[in-house]
């Protein structure tokens, strides 16, 4: 089976996507989970560029990797799950 380079790249990205989803599930550290979830959203944005949907890519980058993560981090801070901010 001969595949184009872009197909291979996309497949690798998809594998990364699944790996980071599993990573989020197994890690016990909430901070790490949110960081990996940010990575997941960024990979998703790249995949949407490959799928010729730039609208979605911009939105996902702004929302998934930006605002969503800010909200998650603020929540972590409020529930004292971040190291170095305040003792729980």
């Amino acid at each position: 089976m001969n595949m184009e380079l872009s197909t291979i790249i996309q497949m690798v990205l998809v594998v990364f996507l699944i790996a980071s989803a599993i990573g989020v599930s197994v890690t016990r550290n909430l901070f790490l989970a949110v960081i990996v979830f940010m990575g997941y959203s960024s990979i998703m944005a790249i995949i949407w560029v490959f799928l010729e949907s730039p609208d979605l890519a911009i939105t996902e980058a702004a929302v998934g990797a930006g605002v969503d993560s800010v909200l998650f981090f603020l929540t972590l801070k409020k529930v004292h799950a971040l190291k170095g901010t305040r003792e729980g």
């Binding site: 609208d55 911009i58 929302v63 930006g66």
Partner: protein
Amino acid sequence: MNEKKTFWQHLQAWVNGEEAILHADEYIKKREQPHQKRWIKKPNMQRIKENKGLYWFLCVLVSLVFITIMLLVVSHLPTFGQPINPTNNEVMERYLEKGIEETGAINFVAGMILDYRAFDTFGESNVLFLAVISVLILLKRDKKNINAREDRETEEDERFDRSDHKSILKIGAKYLSPVVILYGIYVVLNGHLSPGGGFSGGSIIGAGLILYAAANGHEAMRRFFTFKTFTLISVGCLLTYCGCKSYSFFTGANHVGYEIPKGIPGNILSSGFILPLNICVGLIVACTMYGFYALFTKGDM
């Protein structure tokens, strides 16, 4: 069995009119007992959850069955990326071929979500509005939502904001946030011409506002953005949105009224209602995003 028997006796008793007052206390107590026994007798969710291994096994099993079924479905679905798939039908053709003529937007996606299928998008901006109001109900300080420890922490945070401890962030934000906001405005205004649009641009503006607020503290923010501004902007924009869409739905369905001029496709001032709608959505989203941030950090705006 014992429980059933007593129940039957009581039933008989109150049919005969002997009971209800006298033994009600005992009766209630007897009814409470099976309430506790229930955890053992029935395969209750709580019981299973306490038995960790079984619960894990069940969930993994359910998910694996689910994934298997879905993989089977996927193997039956149309092949990826073929032009003959059922999704690529006359609906898509009209959007692409007549889209520019009928909506005036060069970005077909913007034309589709803000003109052809605008009712969905109206619902979507309402979802956002409802979410921010719900967060407001949840997190705004009131007499049921007060916690001494949290007040202390907020005070510490404010003191930290006023001090000079985060100079890198402050300098970074000073130069970066105007650029971010400017880019957001660009994305909003070009929603009908290039990728992006109200929602993504609004989130970018919101991110810029969040950056500024994080660096300079809420006091600096409150000089130009208070709860009142937030309400006025959100409500004003949603009302404009609602008004525009009602007008176009009403006129469209009844074949009356004036056509909104579409302008020359490609210009900034073109494509009828799409530009004002994008601006409205952008403002709503920016306010909402900042509103989430303010409520999450301080419990107020």
